[in-house]
Amino acid sequence: MATSACSTANLQFAPFSSALDAGFWHKLSENKLDVYGLDDKPRKIHGFYFNGDAVGIPCRLNVDYTAFNEIPQIPPNYFLSHGILQNKNTIDAFKSCDKKELLNDIAHELWLDITSGKAIDDPTLLSKFLMLTYADLKKYHYYYWFTFPALCAPETFPLTKKPIRFSERFTEEQTNAFLAAYTQFQESTRGQRGVKTGYFILQETQTGLQVANLKDADRLLSDPQGKVLFCVCDPSTLAEHPGWPVRNLLTLIAYHWADKLPEVEIVSFRDRISQGSRDISHSLVFTVQLQSLSNLTECPKCVGWEKNAKGKLVPRMVDLSATMDPVKLSESSVDLNLKLMRWRLLPELDLEKITRTRCLLLGAGTLGCNVARSLLGWGVRKITFVDNSRISYSNPVRQSLFVFEDCLHGGKAKAEAAAESLRRIFPGVDAQGHSLTIPMPGHPLSESSIEQTRKDVAVLEELVDQHDVIFLLMDTRESRWLPTLLGAAKGKIVLNAALGFDTFLVVRHGVKMPGEPMDTGPPGEAKLSSNVHGSQLGCYFCNDVVAPGDSTRDRTLDQQCTVSRPGMSMITAALAVELLVSILQHPEEGGAPADTSARDEHITKDMMSILGLVPHQIRGFLSRYYNLLPASRAFEKCTACSSIVIEHYRKEGFGFLLSAFNQPSYLEDLTGLTQLHQETLDSEVWAISDDDESM
């Protein structure tokens, strides 16, 4: 027997690397919130490792969502590792806690298990780990650092026989005998907990191979008939190096048996299933010289902190907000839901374009609430409300973003409350509310209110600039005038929805391209050439031959009264949003042409978006459950969108608006409508009542 260690290589070990699953972090977060609170005392957890990985896979110590189970739940063929979780309450505590002391504590425990012989009875105690964590539950950032304690005693492990393969050391017959014995051994020793033993003894005799527990070592070592080999289930797949679990076993052997056993033969047992058959031939067998530790009384030095991916001894951090932050989860599942629609039905659907579209909703009443909900459904992320009223008791039953509590104490401001409600429904939305009065033409301003109106107009102009789409959802005709003008002047997509008792109107305003010559021609459907480009389409006011005046004055119903059939606003709001989506999916967007005849045979390909037609107007008649899709050209004398109005606004700005607000006939004179009146008798104008209660 060789006793000299001269020129022999020392055995070196492959360290563990930690492998976590997302479930572990979920469970840790849950425990921190529900169980631990601020108590940061050490907690028992479990990990497990495997000795059957394919070549090239590092030694992994797995810690998953079962780690916190009282009874370890170890996957079949895996081996238990006893863990301590040290979860700190603050990042400072995580950083500043004494790492040496942490490692010392667990090293002492390990040393005690070894010297007391406890680890002989339960060899799983040789495999331990400590996990230092800090969970930032606001950001879903998890800081962690593992240590896999290994005692540095003996100081070196001189190899007297270098590692060879199991198949070189044993015959096939012996291999089969070993496997049979090993299988039976695992069956019989598997505790009530169902935990396998990763450390055992192989006794080689004339008659064959027997497998036994570590606690049989004394008896077997004194048996002259057989040779004792110590076996470790080895997670390493390296040809020269066994894994970490071998180290503490060698310390155990050196402490208890090295006096009798100056060198010991070790089997690094690797047990792999490959293509349905079991293979252990790549297990390693080697012999190391062991310096006896039986006189050692003090706990030896201990190592084990895990290095990071760059080989540095520092903690790691993982950002799990993408899969753990409920806000991000709701965002991604909303997106996925829409993508599902695209994948299944509409591969060309440009969802990102819809998501990017910034929508300004003027009016946060029944139409505003329902439009906002439909926009959320399509994945729109920026929604801004403008309204000047407060929520009253009659509102919540129809205005789907409000509840009873919103009406108390004088009622919350609608615009802000609607935005807040949207954020509660979907935290991923960027929703804002502005309480603002939109000035109306023909509603003269008192001297004292001019400054406030100037400010309000400035805010509205800025809001229009900041959004791509303006929804006109207010309850008076006149209040739609200014935003119609602003939308036309700034080339925005404007969608206008208005309700009567059982009729409704949804219009997309013509999108004026800057510098484009205005269309000339009479109002309405007079032109029979049926295809009208989107830039030539009319606005809400183009059909009018009277300027918007003070229509609220002669109202018989006040604003709280319900004059629309309750389902109307949902229908109308939904159509307005769907029309927007069709516009966005049309290659020309707002320029999408519409057909004045609305006859199928007139529909041409250029009129279609991938979602179908992009009508100019949808006029609905609920009494007959019937919709019409008329289209009309812009009117050169329109009081809201004609070139002359836009030019005056551009040149004179607020001064021009002030004239329109204060002088009842100003717009009619400017556009030439006054003159037209004298020439034309009242033509029959399809008028929609908008005496609804949408605000």
Binding site: F13, S17, F157, G311, V314, M317, D319
Partner: protein
């Protein structure tokens, strides 16, 4: 059954049969019983080595669990000569596959997650990049099956799911065609992997063969290892 669906109790029987078959083949499917679900589910773990080939398709996949810069290097003396310095080896992705019953579709559903060693899940795009090229092109054309991220019905955490809406028709075609056509079909509706097996009538089905057939057709899409012996043993 004729329409390609199975009842929850048949599913439960299939699970048990399948797990037994898995044990015979030394595969590692495990049965898990859920507290509030009649039939439980089965699960399997698997490691995916990102070798050169895969590292290419997933080149954008850089694990974000890197060192924490603001945490200064800790005062830890841990160097010693008995530890080999492990060079950065092959990157490994952990995969976890679950077969759960869907009450609404009356078919089994495959839930799975793939994650880095930090526990960080791969994103949908990263998962797609791991789908073998042949299925990527086939799926983009046929669009009859797709990946979505859903809450696991039993564990309540996000998992990826192969959407079950075409499972029944896949299994219906398979069951019917197998009763009449013994040869391996090239029709993709027979199964993505083109896995087929010897002919027998549905009534003579062996327990577990529904799962075997379904799983072997979807497994390769998500790199779930499935020995061909399942088909051989399960159907004889």
């Amino acid at each position: 059954m004729v329409d390609g669906t199975i009842s929850a109790s048949v599913f439960a029987d299939e699970l048990h049969a399948f797990v037994e078959l898995s044990a015979t083949l030394k595969d590692t499917w495990q049965l898990a019983m859920a507290n509030d679900s009649k039939c439980g589910y089965i699960s399997k773990r698997q490691l995916l080595k990102l070798d050169q080939h895969l590292a290419d398709v997933s080149s954008g996949m850089v694990e974000s669990s890197l060192e924490v810069d603001e945490l200064t290097e800790q005062e830890v003396e841990d160097e010693e000569s008995n530890t080999i310095q492990v060079k950065p080896q092959t990157r490994v992705i952990s995969c976890e596959y679950h077969v759960v019953y869907s009450d609404s579709y009356s078919v089994p559903v495959l839930y799975f997650n793939m994650y880095h060693d930090s526990g960080k899940l791969l994103t949908l795009d990263e998962i797609w990049s791991l789908v073998p090229q042949i299925y990527q092109s086939r799926l983009s054309q046929e669009r009859w099956t797709f990946l979505t991220q859903q809450e696991h019905p039993i564990l309540g955490r996000p998992y990826f799911q192969l959407h079950p809406c075409h499972t029944a028709s896949l299994m219906k075609h398979s069951v019917l065609s197998r009763a009449t056509k013994p040869e391996i079909s090239t029709d993709t509706a027979q199964g993505l992997a083109g896995v087929s097996a010897t002919s027998h009538t549905p009534s003579m089905r062996r327990k577990g063969s529904y799962l075997v057939q379904w799983l072997s057709s979807v497994a390769p899409v998500v790199r779930l290892g499935m020995s061909l012996e399942y088909g051989l043993i399960g159907n004889n």
